[in-house]
Symmetry: C2
Subunit: 418 residues, 2 copies
């Protein structure tokens, strides 16, 4: 891959209505482009990061025993009537009629669809436990879409749904997903907290959210200094922050603090809410039972923005290696044909090590090339210049450390772990 | 992977309204499940095949220099007004208002969106040629959805869009895609024809369709015996088949025949239709020009059905290896624990060779297991029984040949090329 034939375009400025740093940097590095309010196209650089997130999520879902499926985005309203959510869900639920005046909704979530599938396919206790997930486009008709892909209307989500024969099973499935989520968010390199949460429009008995700590977060979370207690502040109603901290402190003497968080995951124990209302039942020796469900969401699109909120400096994004669009960029400084050959040979070496890279072979000034590399946040910058070339040296700049040093190719490659 | 913990469920019958063999077999093998008229969920087995098709398409697009992006499914009507298609496109275009009464459509195709992106990002001749593709959910509000995923309302498509500075460039981009399509359909193992076609609602000057030959095809295609001429019959208007054959024969003396085909791909030279109407222009030395576009579609979902129409027998599907949900199924006959160990060891060997497999470890009769394996069309059946186990033998049945033979594991593995 070379920048000369790749959509590698940076902008000096971002639109004035972009408030969040992640929104600004994603626009400036051309990861995304706006088509309509809250509706974006993911451009090549952005989509590469998105796919890396998808793959981390997919691998961990499979390892936890969840099976991938693909459910429709367009859902018949009948199913939402059965669950009673057609009336309960707010105006975020986009409703429309097809050409035959049948009512549909554009899926903001898929509890109804999966329960419809389950009642048609799961019919024996042998079929449980079962856990299905998908990575699919969702639509939520936000009244005020903003913050780029952080609060867009169309977005990608991973949603998983578990089915169990009893409460013990449901809790085991829930814990499996909870563990998988921790692995996923660790792999992505997040500083995050798991907090008790409100079950809201999804329903059910218990739920927890995964919050990435960031000053720009829309939610406030409160936790004790020993971190044994953590909760979304919305569970405490209308009281002031200090009041809540004081009240909790009085109870157990612990210190509490409040931080802002970006919700990137939410897991629920749903119980029989959907299996009952949509009549999913399974015949057991003890009679017919409604399987107990759990549901588990991850905001795939939002993860990119959340990661940037935690990883940037004045020059741009500092992507963790696991979700960077490329792990390395090979920057050519100079016009000698040998430099391009050296770059291609280096790219081959990197590919062999399993490191994906792009060569910046554009006819641009060194300054512009360095600035662009810093802005797009690619972890390793490998600089090939005429001077270095003559001395058989290569320069490596590690974006997250800001440091750079020269050595021969062999030693530089040895430093880059696959 | 084991069938005991996988959604591997077969049905004896398919609903009476399923007419096509592919529809019946996909339902019976639980590759898909209906949620509403023309709207399906892809279950684990079906999605595995779908992902294999996606990967073949993706790899060939990348090799042809196309860059992957992800465009929104929900599209502002404004853009469709600019292209004039809001009025020209029929009722297949689903239209709706959001909560703020702004008009949107659910994307059946993405010419407007990509041209909107292009006018915001491509601004110099250096930016051309460019080719962007996506694999994304589409919606077409068919009046009479039928034939399963062959003519569903929500479906997956690969759509690519090229931008060139002049006609020569446009044709080169077109030919690149045409070549890539041939590679893709060869890899999928189709018997297909490339035929001249009508440009229809998409517009433009020239277009060709890729048709998989099948008696159940909805289109009729006509071609000469030397195959230098091939066309969709709809280009000839209302005349009878024989009349058309006779008229062509009179002209050049060649023999012509008519067959039925399933359209799996369609490529267009669009010219400046969209770049003009949506004001995508690029400044060149000779003044401002509207880049010339091409667009290129592949019906990802439909490919699975088309493949089945060409590959089945009375026992079920006969998937080509490239898009089979699994390449091999290891069938355990007997309850001895050693058999499961042998199966797992065999699965490891296969994985090492890059062959994906599933172990049928269900507590079912041998007959049921064989029938299910035949139905789901997995290319290689590897049978582990107590008798074979004692004699250190393994049985291999090749689904497409119906033949089976026994040998030791080493020799059997040697026969399975990676």
């Amino acid at each position: 891959m070379k920048t000369s034939s790749y959509h590698y375009k940076t902008l000096k400025d971002s639109p004035s209505d972009a408030e969040l740093i992640s929104h600004k940097l994603m626009l400036r590095s051309s990861m995304i482009k706006l088509n309509a309010s809250g509706i974006y196209t993911w451009l090549p650089l952005g989509l590469r990061s998105l796919k890396k997130v998808e793959n981390i999520v997919r691998r961990n879902m499979e390892e936890a025993g969840a099976q991938e499926i693909l459910m429709p985005m367009v859902q018949p309203s009948d199913l939402w009537e059965e669950s009673k959510r057609l009336s309960e869900y707010g105006p975020e639920l986009l409703r429309f009629e097809d050409r035959n005046d049948r009512s549909f909704v554009l899926g903001p979530t898929h509890e109804e669809i999966i329960t419809d599938i389950a009642r048609k396919t799961l019919n024996s206790p042998k079929d449980l436990p079962a856990n299905y997930y998908q990575i699919q486009t969702k639509f939520r008709d936000e009244i005020r879409p903003r913050f780029g892909v952080m609060r867009s209307r169309e977005f990608l989500m991973k949603d998983a749904y578990s089915f169990d024969i009893n409460e013990k099973g449901m809790k085991e499935s829930y814990d499996l997903m909870r563990d998988a989520y921790q692995k996923i968010f660790n792999e992505i390199g997040f500083d995050y907290r798991i907090v008790s949460a409100d079950s809201g429009a999804i329903g059910g008995s218990a739920s927890e959210e995964f919050h990435v700590l960031a000053d720009s977060g829309e939610d406030k979370i409160i936790f004790s200094d020993d971190e044994l207690f953590a909760s979304n502040l919305e569970l405490f109603g209308e009281k002031s922050d200090q009041e809540i901290i004081d009240r909790l402190h009085e109870k157990d003497g612990k210190k509490y603090s409040i931080k802002r968080g970006i919700e990137v995951g939410h897991i629920f124990q749903l119980g029989d809410k959907y299996s009952k209302s949509l009549s999913l039942s399974i015949q057991t020796k003890e009679g017919n039972i409604n399987p107990l469900m759990g549901c588990y969401g991850i905001g795939i699109s939002r993860i990119i923005a959340a990661s940037i909120e935690q990883n940037y400096d004045q020059d741009g994004i500092i992507f963790p290696r696991s979700i960077a669009p490329f792990e390395a960029i090979i920057i050519i400084i100079g016009e000698d044909k040998n430099l391009l050959n050296e770059a291609e040979s280096l790219q081959n070496d990197l590919t062999k090590k399993g490191i994906d890279s792009i060569i910046d072979d554009r006819n641009e000034s060194p300054g512009k090339k360095f600035k662009d590399a810093d802005l797009t946040g690619i972890p390793f910058q490998l600089i090939i210049s005429e001077k270095n070339h003559k001395e058989n040296l290569l320069e490596l700049k590690v974006r997250s450390e800001g440091t750079s040093f020269k050595d021969n190719k062999k030693n530089i490659l040895a430093k880059l772990k696959p």
